[in-house]
Every structure is written in C-alpha cells, then in structure tokens.
Amino acid sequence: MSQIAIRVENLSKLYVIKHGSGAGSLKELAEHYRRLITRKFIPNFKQGQKDPFEVTTEEFWALRDVSFEIPKGDKIGIMGLNGAGKSTLLKIISQITKPTEGRIVIHGRISSLLEMGSGFHGELSGRENIFLNGALLGMGRTEIIRKFDEIVAFSEIEQFIDTPLKRYSSGMQARLGFSVAAHLEPDILLLDEVLAVGDVPFAKKCLIKMEAISNSGATVIFVNHGIDAIKQFCKHAIVLEKGRLILDTHDVDEAIRLYLGEST
C-alpha cells in the first residue's frame, strides 16, 4: 500500500497561442493559404509585405517542471495569483486536459469540482439537476438515490426542490452544487474556488463538511483565494508563481505570507 495519494513529477503544460488565421475563422485560414500559393507561383508578388493573415504562434508554459507529493489523508491548499497555473494543474489532475511533459501518478478514486454545479440546466428542477450533476461527478444512479435526501437536507432548499433551477438565486444554486459534491465518497477530493459563493453561514457549513470528509480518510486538495479558509483548513500548502512551484511547505502561514507578499 502506498502512502501517497498523488505524485506529480516534472509536470509541464504548454499552450500554443495562435495569432492570425489559426485563431480565427475558416475564411482567414483560406486567405492565408491563397496568399501562400500565390507567392509560390509569382515569386515577386508583393514581396516584403507582411501577410496580415500569417500564422504566428506564441508559446506559453502554463506549468513548468512542477513536482510535489500529496500524502494520503492530506489537506493541501494550492495558492497563486491568477495565471499562476492553479487551474491548469487541477485540469490535468482531473483528466480534462493532458500534460505536455512529465506525469502524475494517482492512487485512488478522484472527484473534482472545478466549478460549482457543472452541467446544471436552468430548465430542469433542483431534483433533476441533482441527478444530472451527481452522474456527471461520477455517482451511479443507485448511489444518488441513496444519498438524495441527505443532499437536499444539506442544501436547505427542500421547499424548492421541484422548482426549475432558473428560478433559484445564485446562492441557492451554489448550495445545491456544493451539496451534491459533498456527498461524493472519493479517496481524493479536489475543489476549486468553491467557497467563493454562498453566504457566511453556508461557507462555514461547507468547511465543517470538508473537515468531516477529510477525517474519514480522504485527501482534500483545495484551491481558494480566501486566505482564511486555507489557514483554517489546510495543513500543507504549495505556492505557484508563473507556472513554477516556488514553495512546498507544511507551514501554511509561511505560504500565506509568501502569497500575500507576491500580491502586493
């Protein structure tokens, strides 16, 4: 039995940003090739002029050579400014996109919540959305039915459960989204910015729930701009800056100081 939940080894992710025809429509792409062909056959055709449709590419390393380990049962916070590579890292761990270099080894069932209520549909009722969202997050039909009452009770919206979601306030939608995710039983739970919505009492309730999930033995990976939640919850933190890992520590306060120092 390994004591490691996730091991990230020399992970890099390259995005190629295309300017010109690659980014635009087919028309621009066709125009680009037309000019290429014209130039080939008419050597002196508009020589020296810059082709406005020319494809230029720019490389952008969203993550560069990042390595770290997350032990089983860990409560780890990932910090970094916008564009530091947090979301890219989470997307790779969640298998939404692939790394360019390096690898990640994962032990256990992973559930990730990169967005509150992914796939929620406004025309469906709260009840129908629980089933759709639950299935999307990897729950089976019977599992959802078994946990349905608990999910509804946790979200505190029993009264509106058969109302179309579009009539919900954004806070209510967030409650419902978190409630479904909180009732997954993963070995590893990955949460991105989930406490950014909802009122203070509900955010508190979410933290308590996460504590309970963690106490049951699950590994929790937590991304949040709100320093308080990380301070309160995490025992381990990493800080990313411009795609590189600049700190991996168990002294969460140190990580927060570094993160705040960066922002100012």
Partner: protein, 270 residues
C-alpha cells in the same frame, strides 16, 4: 493506480463509456425533457414541423407542379421522405453542435465526450419513432398495403443515423475549432432537402443523371425507405441503395476516428 502522461491512450475507451452510462442516461433525459419546456404545445412540436413541411411540399410539388407520384397519395410520398430526412437533419445538426452546447461540461468535467453525440442519437430516434407511427397511420388511412419488405426499413433508418452521426462527429470536431460550421450546417441542410428526394420521387430524375444523383447517399436512403413501405410501386435503384449503406458505415467509422483523434484537445480548443 492511474498514471497521467502526455501519451496515455485509454485502451478501454468503450468500457469507459459503459461505466458512465448513468451520465449518458441523465444527459439524454435532460435533452429529451428540456427541448419543449416553456412551450405551449410541448412535445407536439416534434410532429408539427414535419407535418407542416409535408403540407407545403405536397401543395408545391403535388398540387401545383403536379409531379408524378406513381399513383401513391402525394402526401404519403412526401411524408415517407420527410421522416428519414428529418432524422438525418436533426441528428447531423444536433451532433455537430453537441460539444459547444455542452462546453461547460467539456471544459470542467472529466467524462467521455462521445456521451453527448450518443445522447443526440437517442433523442433523434425517439423523434423518428413518433414520425414513423404517424406514417404507418397514413398507410392505413390511404390503404397502402403493408408488405414483408417493411422489415427492411431499419436498414435505411440506421444508415441515415450512421451517416448523420459520422458527418456530425466530424463537424463537431471542426466546430470546436472553427465556429464557421455552426453557420454552415443549417444552410447545407436547408438546401439538402431540395437536393434529396424528399418532395419528389427518385424516379423523376432522368436516367442519365441517376448515377450522379445517387452520389448523395440520402437519395439511396430515401429511395430504399420508400421501397420498403410500398414495394409494389417504388422501384429500388440497387447500386444507389448499396452505395448509401456502405458510405454510411464508412462515414460513421471515419467520424469516430476523427473525433477520437481530437478528443483529448477539446477542452483546450473549444
């Protein structure tokens, strides 16, 4: 233990889809239920569109242009073209749109992307079934005898579905990159209904053009479908029929290939 690398090709591609069947079920149920929410006549829209198209085509091609219908009621001839055409057009359109329509799931959740096109297939087949029941009702009403050849109709319906899904998967892949296809496809379908034998019989096409006309696989599919319903009257053009079935299977295969090759990058390109 799971290893994520730049080059990991999931060997159990179809098994992974099967494992997520509950997701397929709920996505399909969503697609079936949300379509006509907040409409007055609800699910009747599934039949209203083909019926109105039939009435207008019957009026134009039957009553005004007086095209030959080999003795069959013109409305029946048209509707027997509309039912497979609508299956094809809906599936092609919806499949090509399925990634963009579900883009929040594509970029935020790990799930087999093929689930979304498969869901459109189920919705398309449900719509087809309603149209087909109405078509059988018309046969009874006009006393068109039902013959043993009717057992062949699934061949042509499956061909229409395979062709639509295959083309739709290619279009969905391109659509994730170039949104032009979102504009192009409805236009192609609008013209396609006239290029295909929906409002008229295949026999109307002059013999010397028959081969060329049959290059459009929908021509063979509709011809075959009508033949299975009225074999005494409709002559099947066998080369066209066989060609249509072969092309449909090939398109489905090609579509899945293209889709799978691009699948890993959808979350980055969409």
């Amino acid at each position: 233990m799971l290893i994520l690398e730049a080059k990991t090709n999931p060997k159990n591609y179809w098994k992974a889809i099967w494992q997520r069947r509950s997701l397929l079920f709920y996505v399909t149920r969503r697609d079936l239920t949300v379509r006509y929410k907040q409409t007055l006549v609800g699910v009747s829209w599934v039949l209203i569109r083909p019926i109105l198209t039939m009435l207008i085509f019957s009026l134009l091609f039957g009553s005004i242009a007086k095209l030959d219908s080999s003795g069959l009621p013109y409305g029946f001839v048209v509707f027997a073209g509309i039912v497979p055409w609508f299956l094809f057009a809906n599936l092609f359109g919806e499949t090509s749109n399925s990634l963009i329509a579900n883009s929040t799931m594509v970029t935020k959740v790990n799930c087999p992307r093929l689930i979304f096109p498969i869901s459109t297939l189920v919705v398309g087949l449900v719509d087809f079934s309603l149209g087909f029941i109405l078509l059988l009702g018309m046969m009874v009403w006009y006393s068109v005898p039902i013959q043993w050849e009717i057992i062949c109709f699934p061949i042509f319906i499956l061909s229409a579905a395979m062709l639509a899904i295959g083309l739709g998967l290619i279009a969905a892949t391109l659509n994730a990159r170039y949104r032009d296809f979102q504009q192009l496809i409805p236009f192609v379908l609008q013209l396609g209904i006239y290029l295909s034998p929906v409002g008229y019989l295949n026999q109307l096409v002059p013999k010397k053009w028959e081969m060329l006309y049959s290059l459009n696989p929908i021509a063979g599919i509709i011809n075959g479908f009508r033949w299975s319903l009225a074999p005494n009257v409709i002559a099947p053009f066998w080369p066209g029929l066989i060609y249509a079935v072969v092309i449909s299977i090939a398109m489905l295969y090609l579509g899945i290939k293209v889709f799978r090759a691009a699948e890993d990058n959808f979350s980055d390109t969409i």
